[in-house]
């Protein structure tokens, strides 16, 4: 058992703790970011970048989401509207009580990344887990080399974390930001095109660089191909997987790929690791 898992719930790992949504931010027409705190104003737990939380809307249901940011006394999760449950999440207003348990899963291999240049690639809501790592790197700026951030959304209005993507990150030292949209729009004068082709267009150099690639399955597939074309090794491309999950602790069975459980052994895998697993993604 190489990965050491921290669990905030000392006794019952399946029991959520009662927390409160203290802020709701509309990121895009179908993505909201929730700032979550315990009832007594504390941080529910301290996740590592890339870890997951099981968020439960009492009486409606629960689902696993990546934690996109954390602060002194809060964690943040961004949720895209995809179905009945997420519809209900999107009706939340500040003050809403929710249950939260976690953090679950492994995390981005921070130790491996230290001292290296990092290329972050995000597509759509896939930027959410990447953002947790970007924030970590920016907070520990001296531990990392040059940071490239490439993010693609459908159109300008679909760009998540607009302040970070369009303003803040570009101002950080030794950081380059590339934003692209799938379709042109009147209010967008930036790059237009899909993420994989933009990767090749920019022509990132593989030397000394690790890649973190998160997004919809098709983007991961084509994006990986682009990266491999540019000469990146599969060991250096890190991505996250998403499967239906229920327990979050590797017991309930459904999120396995081969003998690995995405909720426990994932969600973070390198392309090399994924190659080892049966093709069931």
């Amino acid at each position: 058992m190489a990965i050491d898992h921290a669990c905030s719930c000392e006794k019952n790992p399946l029991l959520p703790s009662l927390c409160r949504v203290i802020d709701v931010k509309q990121e895009t027409p179908d993505v909201q970011t929730y700032t979550i705190q315990t009832l007594d104003g504390k941080k529910p737990f301290s996740p590592l970048p890339g870890q997951l939380a099981m968020v439960s809307l009492l009486g409606v249901g629960e689902a696993m989401f990546s934690i996109t940011a954390q602060g002194e006394d809060y964690i943040q999760s961004s949720i895209k509207r995809t179905g009945m449950l997420t519809d209900a999440f999107h009706e939340m207003q500040p003050g809403q009580e929710i249950g939260i348990r976690g953090p679950y899963g492994n995390h981005f291999p921070i130790e491996d990344l230290k001292g290296k240049d990092i290329l972050f690639i995000g597509g759509g809501i896939g930027i959410a887990p990447v953002r947790s790592l970007i924030r970590y790197c920016l907070e520990h700026r001296s531990d990392f080399g040059h940071l490239d951030i490439l993010y693609g959304a459908r159109s300008k209005k679909d760009i998540c974390f607009k302040e970070d993507c369009l303003e803040n990150w570009a101002k950080e030292p030794d950081t380059s930001v590339y934003i692209t949209t799938d379709v042109p729009s009147d209010d967008w004068d930036g790059h237009v095109g899909f993420v994989p082709s933009y990767i090749e267009e920019v022509g990132f150099q593989p030397e000394g660089k690790k890649v973190v690639l998160c997004g919809p399955p098709i983007m991961i597939k084509l994006g990986s191909a682009s990266l491999l074309k540019l000469g990146f090794a599969k060991e250096d491309v890190i991505t996250t997987l998403e499967l239906r999950m229920k327990c979050g602790i590797g017991k309930c069975g459904r999120c396995n790929i081969g003998s690995k459980f995405v909720c426990l052994d994932g969600p973070v895998f390198t392309l090399a690791e994924l190659d080892e697993l049966p093709d069931e993604k």
Partner: protein
Amino acid sequence: MAELSEAMVQDLIRAEAKKALQTGEVSCVIGWTATRFEDRTKPYFAQTPEECDMLIWNRYCINGTAKFALDDRYPDKKFGIIARGCDTRAINRMIHDKQLKRENLYIIGVVCDGKENPVCRQCAHKTPLVCDVMIGEPVQDVIPESRFQEIEAFEKLSPDERYAYWAKQYDKCIHCYACRNACPACNCIECYADQYRVGWQGKAADREQNQIYGLTRAYHVGDRCIECGECERVCPMHLPIMRQTRKMLKDINDLFGPYECGLSEEETTALGEFKTADPDEFM
């Protein structure tokens, strides 16, 4: 004409299956094959003419074959089915319910003499009702007088006795959905029970959820049941499932006139139509 022996029928089945596969129009022919136990057979999908020699025919060929046609709702080639009377009713059921197209099927009908399956004693249609080729001599359709005897006897019990009986049965149920998955009338692409809908069907296998499931399924298929008995045959806990669906059939029969399903593709279902002159008890 002399009756065909089991072995002769088996040879004919193999020959017809081979012929069908050799034309190249049929992707496979489903029938039965042996298992390690002599008194059991299992569904077998012959995909090459050679594999047709695995097909067998004996009194243990009890699995329904028709429902497997739904595994591929959009086939490139025809699906070959070795079909007994009940299997052809199942085929009619699924064609009527618009889940199958006749032109996508190649049906090798076999006149059935009844199998080692209690439901066969109630069989009214031993001769295939629809097929491309027929093996065996057609026999007369006879609706057995015993069709609703069991139901009538059960109706005579007191309400509490009836409830207690069903409650015990549903206590046994393990909620495996074998009855649904084997049933040719349960042909929805996504069953109501598989959908995430708070309040429709809980997944828990407790008495409450099993009762709801049992009754809902009986109601959903009751006016379309072809009485093949697959639900009861597959139930690992031996629930008398037909006793529910046959009850619906009996009531339809009593209230709205003689009723049997799956006899043709075009028939109407009892709950899909009405007559202004239907009996009215709600005045």
